[in-house]
Amino acid sequence: MTGEAVHAGTRGGGARGSGRLGRAFAGTMGRALPIFAVVLAIVVLWYLAAFWLNAQWVLDQAERAGRSVGFWEILEKTMSQERPRLPAPHQVVAELWHATLGMKITSKRSLIFHAWVTLAPTLLGFLIGTVTGLLLAVGIVHNRAMDMSVMPWAIASQTIPILAIAPMVIVVLNSVGVTGLVPKALISAYLCFFPVVVGMVKGLRSPDCILLDLMKTYNASRWQVFWKLRLPASMPYFFTSLKVGAAAALIGTIVAELPTGAIRGLGARLLSGSYYGQTIQIWAALFMAAILAAALVGVIGLVQNWVLKRMGFVR
């Protein structure tokens, strides 16, 4: 609604001086409005679902106590259970609030602490995965044998369920004395390298034939073609790959934390939450993971905008 008003305002007013700012603002609002509408719809559906899923428990309780309950009482009780089937949004928000700002970061129950435990291997895995992906992509583009051989393997690697190999990798690495950050980072990298390979192969191959011919007429070496043509041309693809890769890296770390008896990290929070039926804890951990992913992707997006603008890609 306000978005509409702002739109109308800038269009009608047409003040030259503030036009650009106004337009940018209206643009942001224009983009924010649909997102806001979707979020609102999700929250409404969520509340409905919470009521629907948790009502049975309230009714059972009342029956056991031998008394009847009215609609409003059911409604109220579905929104405030300790272990609901589906916690209501405000319960998750309250738990998030409590577990992040409500306690010391060093506390074992602080979500910030657990988030950091997950973030560190994610960043390392992201780095390893990105570098591996880049090197493989460069190899694939420049070497026929690699072109033929690497891609099928890379695809095959992603068809193996990560949930099945993660514990094996961790156990094997633990048995040779590699513990802590590195095993998790490796599993994270395992998921992360793939989108980088795929995106960068496409990016490095994106220059037109005519540009490759042009470089040939200059008698440019492969190395020069790579640095002056292929690599800069691949930058938009690179950042897109990074975004997908970062999300994959985070998932990899969380999966690595799940089945290994880890007691720290978002994955461990998810697992212990499900052991003890602490659904609110699970959902809070899920949201923390989503926030982490959004932050990672957001930071990459900022770097992307800056770099592409500096390169003259963005008009």
Partner: protein
Amino acid sequence: METAATTKNGEPHAPGARGGGEGAGPVIRARGLSLTFETRDGPVHALQDVDLDIRRGEFVSFIGPSGCGKTTFLRVVAALERPTGGEICVNGMTPDAARRARAYGYVFQAPGLLPWRTIAGNVRLPLEIMGFDKGEQERRIGEVLDLVDLSGFGKKYPWQLSGGMQQRASIARALSFDAGILLMDEPFGALDEIVRDHLNEQLIALWKKTGKTILFVTHSIPEAVYLSTRIVVMSPRPGRVIEVIENTLPAERPLDIRDTPEFLAIAHKVREGLRKGHAYDG
């Protein structure tokens, strides 16, 4: 493959080497040149039995219906395509050796500027690749941008320029390393008549000033007659040379020379040649 081409050249090339390669001999010399593309729908004879000598400093236009092999011929000269028969020498060498010696600048139909480089940056590209030092790069960039009337636009990005200006920038880029031969494949094909006239005038001036050998592909009869010293008329399927027309117009060519009877007579001759090509076809 390369060695095979050289040995093939070795013997039949002997008469051509008379003049002593680089100096007096033809800059480009084709004998029985053929190129057949093997496609899924069978062979396509893009060039067949092309004999042609081009001397230093000539301005040769190639004209003919679409698909007659004009681009293919230029690409063979540039060693971007390998002939399947006959021989061709560029500066007395194989095309590939000439390419490695950076004997030519190539202007494609599309400007082909790198979007992440400024105009000056685009002109700098070949200079960087060929290892000119920084000062020399700047000097040459200034010089060729001047030559194509783009000084002052060096800091702009390609998308900030009109199509005609972009094409001029791509010509500047091809001129920057001062190769003796300029290969131009319909460089003005996508531009409107007025811009085209202007660029044609500039191109003639540039050619006179630099004394380069220019091979110029076009679809336009007036353009071919206005620009060139010789006009090569080609016909399709298979792509061959129908006729080579000497242009007897004086070297001094103001735009309104196109209304003179001499001009129209030569244009008529070209048109006749093209018609003959179609007779071949039918």
